[in-house]
């Protein structure tokens, strides 16, 4: 793995078209080596590895400092959903270009005024012969600024409310009637976009799963999103290792308060890894992933923030001046990482929602 990693760090895929394409090239390199998505079956370009083998792959991946996966919406979220709900035609049409990096996917879950309420969908898909006509407004669509296709929920039954009457529809971001507008985020990157749909026509064959049952299909996907696939433990173990190195390099900046926080955060990174291995073992033994996806989401998002907060505490006043610096030690990564981590407790189902889920589905407390 290390031998194939680009020697120059790639520009962020959220910063520019060039950065995005450089990451797409990396996805192609991975795919050619059969490393695009190692848990996928061989027929779609994978290696049919088990989850535990995947975790070990991820260790190697992060240890080598390999680039972030611009392809993650596709390979981790949509791909598994297509394998479960897609027709044979859809599988062959979508999965191979997805694994190859030829089609990069954006997700289009949220709508304005919906927030954490994913079922508050107003965007509609009206049947017109063998097409749906899409109308509406999606927001907080990750990767959409530079991606090729997107997937999202649309109301196919105009009479329906809430989570009923929705369908999961895939659409090209360059189709007529689709307009993408980037959102400037607090770290200055363009990680998200708004998508305006103005009578965009989509073939019925691009609906995934049965009409009107998009919510159930999506929940499988949202479960994956919250779950372990997007947040492999190696990411935090590598960050914890770097944090320890930072603290060792600047012992004069580590007082009791920082030392105490450092100890806790490193233990937490290790606890996260052990917990994910335990879940993977359970899944390997035939278990299913349940509401503990919510406990994971809360834990990794708080861990990520804590790791970067400790780093900024060590860096002190220099921290604010690490905006894209030209530093060999990559100290600027801590600031970037902190800003990115701030989004953790908010996106992919805000932590408040996750706590509700734990309380209601694990502990059986009544709905508010």
């Amino acid at each position: 793995m290390a031998a194939n990693v680009p020697t120059q760090r790639l520009t962020s895929f959220n910063a520019s078209h060039a950065g995005f394409e450089a990451h797409r090239d990396w996805e192609r390199v991975l795919n050619r080596g059969g490393y695009g998505m190692v848990t996928w079956p061989a027929e779609f370009g994978g290696r049919a590895l088990s989850l535990i083998e995947w975790l070990i792959f991820e260790e190697e991946y992060y240890r080598a400092g390999a680039p972030g996966r611009v392809n993650q919406n596709g390979i981790f979220l949509l791909g598994p959903t297509i394998m479960e709900y897609g027709t044979a035609e859809q599988k062959s049409r979508f999965l191979t270009p997805m694994a190859a990096g030829d089609v990069i996917w954006a997700q289009a879950w949220s709508e304005p005024q919906a927030g954490s309420d994913l079922a508050a969908v107003r965007a509609s898909a009206t049947r017109d012969g063998e097409h749906y006509v899409l109308r509406g407004h999606k927001i907080w669509s990750s990767r959409a600024v530079f991606a090729d296709w997107a997937f999202g929920l649309f109301r196919t039954d105009a009479e329906s409310t809430k989570h009923r009457g929705l369908s999961l529809i895939l659409f090209s971001l360059t189709a007529p009637g689709v307009r993408v507008q980037p959102i400037a985020q607090i770290d200055g990157e363009l990680g998200f976009a708004e998508i305006f749909l103005d009578d965009a026509r989509v073939p019925v064959a691009d609906r995934l799963g049965p009409e009107g049952e998009g919510w159930g299909v999506c929940m499988a996907t949202a479960g994956f999103e919250r779950g372990l696939m997007l947040r492999s433990p190696a990411r935090y173990q590598v960050a914890a290792g770097k944090l320890l190195a930072l603290a060792k390099a600047r012992p004069e900046r580590v007082d009791a308060t920082i030392e105490a926080a450092l100890l806790q955060v490193v233990m937490d990174a290790e606890a996260y890894a052990l917990s994910i291995f335990a879940t993977a073992s359970r899944l390997a033994a035939g278990g299913t992933i349940g509401p503990e996806a919510s406990t994971n989401k809360i834990f990794w998002s708080e861990l990520d923030l804590a790791l970067h907060s400790v780093a900024l505490a060590i860096l002190g006043a220099a921290g604010e001046m690490l905006v894209h610096p030209d530093d060999a030690a990559h100290d600027g990564d801590w600031l970037d990482g902190f800003l990115f981590a701030l989004a953790g407790p908010i996106y992919a189902g805000a932590n408040e929602i996750q706590r509700n889920i734990i309380a209601e589905r694990v502990l059986g407390l009544p709905r508010g």
Partner: protein, 343 residues
Amino acid sequence: MDFTFSAEQRQSADMLAGVLGDICSLSHLRTSLKAGAKFDDGRWATLARLELAGIMVSERQGGLGLGAVDVVLLAQACGYAALPEGLAGYIGVTVPLLAELGCDIVLQAILAGGSYVAHQDHGFVVARDAAAASYGVVVDGDRVAVVAADALASVNVASIDPFRRLARLTLPAALQAAPAAIARARERGAVFAAAELVGIAQRAVDIAAAYAKERQQFGKPIGANQAVKHMLASAQVKIEFARPVVYAAAFEADIGSVASRARVSHAKLAAADAALAATRAALQVHGAIGYSWEADVHIFLKRALALSEEWGERPYHRARVQRRLTTYKFAPDTLFALETDHG
């Protein structure tokens, strides 16, 4: 490392949990509390009939020859039941230590089902139920003595946890050095205390969740309040991320390397943290009634307080984790790299 337990391991824990449900329910504890929380001979005899005492004793010595991973779920069940008698430490620490020390006469008395042995290790564990013991194992530093009950001098000490009947045993004159066996005992002690703490934490959350479903206030169950939900959910998150560390520590307890000691200490710290947070959250969810002996939460809170500092106080365990961080490279591939250094 495989994190799944075998069917036998799970069945054995379920069996113990079932027995404890019959003989150590909350109403048993409440009744016992009113009567002074004395040692329950009948309960101890029932538990002895489960023949768990030899679980970690080698087959050569008449035991089952199993390891810490085979006891960790049992310890968790003891915590969940708030079992007053120290079964987990007994079968997981005291008896294996006696076996390692080659105390065959005492061992045979234990395996025959008759004897309880109290265990004191200065700075690590205070003897429990010395009055019911046939023998005492007394450890000081890296030296140990095993003495018969009639030679044991002891002074009772009150604990905040009325079910922990503590005593200080007088140090016998003659102790023999056994550093390796004593060190192993301490690792196991920490692991099983951690497992008990996880059980305590889960029970506190379960009791509070049950209460929150029933108890009405302002015209709805208090569990419908987000504040209650989030308090218990946060406690549950702590439990979920302590449990796998405890299981990993059980797997590694006998290795004795810097890394395995750090794992055991991490387990103890994470479990203590979860238990203290969960019992406090449970108390808060109960409101004023939680602060009375009428509710059962206080039993778990007090046990959590006591076990958090048993088998190594928190600064001791933090120092052991710290030592790993300063001597080891911390990276994904060192997560299970436990065999490399026995320093």
